[in-house]
Subunit: 302 residues, 2 copies
């Protein structure tokens, strides 16, 4: 049996009882270690499971899927995945490959940011499509995410913005010399995310013409509400901060807690209960309520 097991959000205790029982009977256990990051060391997982774990980097999962699946018709093999197993296309690929090989598969679900984002107080059914915000460089600022956000904004939906992480990056020099030396992991902080969003907003606005008036003005700094989340689901380190994009852009990295981060751009279909719940984390509660009421049209009593 080939198990793909979601580990949930934070540490070794976020696995489900069903998942833990499956792991403990597996003869080989791989930990997928590039589409997301668990906030706990591999050693801690190993001691909790009482089993050794093989770290599977992108190159392993994508090129050595048959090695992972080796003998899985007879043995129990597990691929552990941060969040839920269907959070990344690579795991779907692996399950397809197992199906081709006639290996039976079991998926064990868990929380992922795709549903745990509800912690910010916005209702999940009002979220539209999810976007990923990549790190910009001086010469490369891919902003196709902006079009997706506009589609959501036009219909009043909230947008979950997944912030880039860079794991096992090689410097240009090391890559040129073929040295497998990797840079320390980088996690996009909400400060960078908001700054990139506002940069793209300015670029879009500048390129707007009378024929295409619609391509700018969707994410105005003073009138767009956003919520930054860090370490969602952590019993002691979860932090949520919300305000207008302008307000968030004036904070420092330390204000947002520790990685991993995500960001929500609040859509216009905003219920008063959502405003009230998230208000607890507002940079400025009065301004949060004012924009929610005057710009978003939320029916607040006060």
């Amino acid at each position: 049996m080939f198990y793909v097991i979601g580990l949930g959000l934070c540490d070794e205790k976020d696995i489900t009882v069903r998942g833990l029982e499956a792991v403990r009977k597996c003869s080989r256990i791989y930990l997928e270690a590039y589409t997301s990051i668990l906030l706990v060391d591999k050693e801690k997982l190993e001691s909790f499971y009482g089993k050794p774990i093989i770290t599977a980097y992108r190159e392993t999962v994508e090129t050595e899927s048959d090695e992972i699946l080796r003998n899985a018709k007879e043995e129990d093999v597990a691929l552990l995945v941060v969040g839920d197993p269907f959070g990344a296309t690579t795991h779907t690929d692996m399950l397809l490959r197992a199906r081709e090989l006639g290996v039976p598969t079991t998926v064990i679900h868990n929380a992922s940011i795709m549903n745990a984002v509800g912690a910010c107080g916005l209702q999940l059914y009002n979220f539209g499509q999810t976007v990923s915000l990549p790190f910009y460089t001086d010469s490369w600022k891919p902003d196709s995410w902006y079009d997706r956000v506009v589609e959501n904004v036009e219909k009043g939906m909230h947008t979950l913005v997944l912030l880039d992480i860079k794991v096992r990056e090689q410097s240009e020099e090391n890559m040129a010399r073929g040295r497998k030396i990797y840079e320390p992991p980088r996690y996009m902080n909400p400060v960078t995310a908001v700054s990139q969003i506002l940069e793209s907003e300015i670029i879009r606005a500048a390129s707007a013409s009378s024929e295409e008036p619609k391509i700018h003005g969707y994410l105005k700094p003073e009138s767009t509400l956003a919520i930054a989340l860090s370490r969602v689901g952590s019993p002691d380190k979860q932090r949520i901060v919300c305000g207008t994009l302008q307000q968030l852009s004036e904070l420092t990295e330390d204000d947002f807690g520790e990685p991993l981060f995500s960001l929500v751009i609040v859509g216009k279909r905003l219920h008063e209960l959502e405003v009230q719940y998230s208000e607890a984390w507002a940079v400025d509660k009065a301004e949060w309520a004012r924009v929610a009421k005057e710009v978003y049209g939320a029916r607040l009593d006060s």
Copy 2:
């Protein structure tokens, strides 16, 4: 401490290790029993936790929240919730109330249909807003969900359709006489769901005029792909069936497995990997691939 603990999708083993540890130290444990249904008896949960459980119906949670929160500054009290704690607004209400009373709270996340729907092979980030399909009656066919689906369809997004459940319903007679006798629970089957969807499609089409050409034709039976899911996450009872709405409408209730059910209306932004993965459950594989290619424009090799 007031804990709101997600139980996940199916049975007693879907709780997380963190959740289980919390439950076991609580002095009062409530099981929320109306926004969704766990596929296991309360007794089985009690024996697994080694603790008695109080079933909390809608009237309890909404009117007696202060009883649930009684003494929760000193004691540990848990509200157990099927899926993830933020799946229903009632739990947000309870957390707000706890906050007002100065009771510290901890939320323990888990899988819910909102992320586990990825099991059907469609990528979660391509889902738009989620809709709920209520049971129609002869005189009441509320179809505001149709407008939400159209918003998703226009942008190529997939739509998760949550199918109605009726728990603790009273017959008109019993209600009139004030008798607290409840009908057996009802779960909407995909057969009913598809039939209601096609009914609304016809009503919308009939009411269409040249001024409003857009309000119909979004969910044509022969060219709209859909995926029905039952018991997602169950190790042995999960069933997925997919095809055009027309094909699904020709099946019987038994073809879809056991409750709970949900349905996905497939959006046009459909990747070949998604088609390939879900094809395994198609009523007719060739037709599934043909519609995906010719109507949806998925780039399939064959």
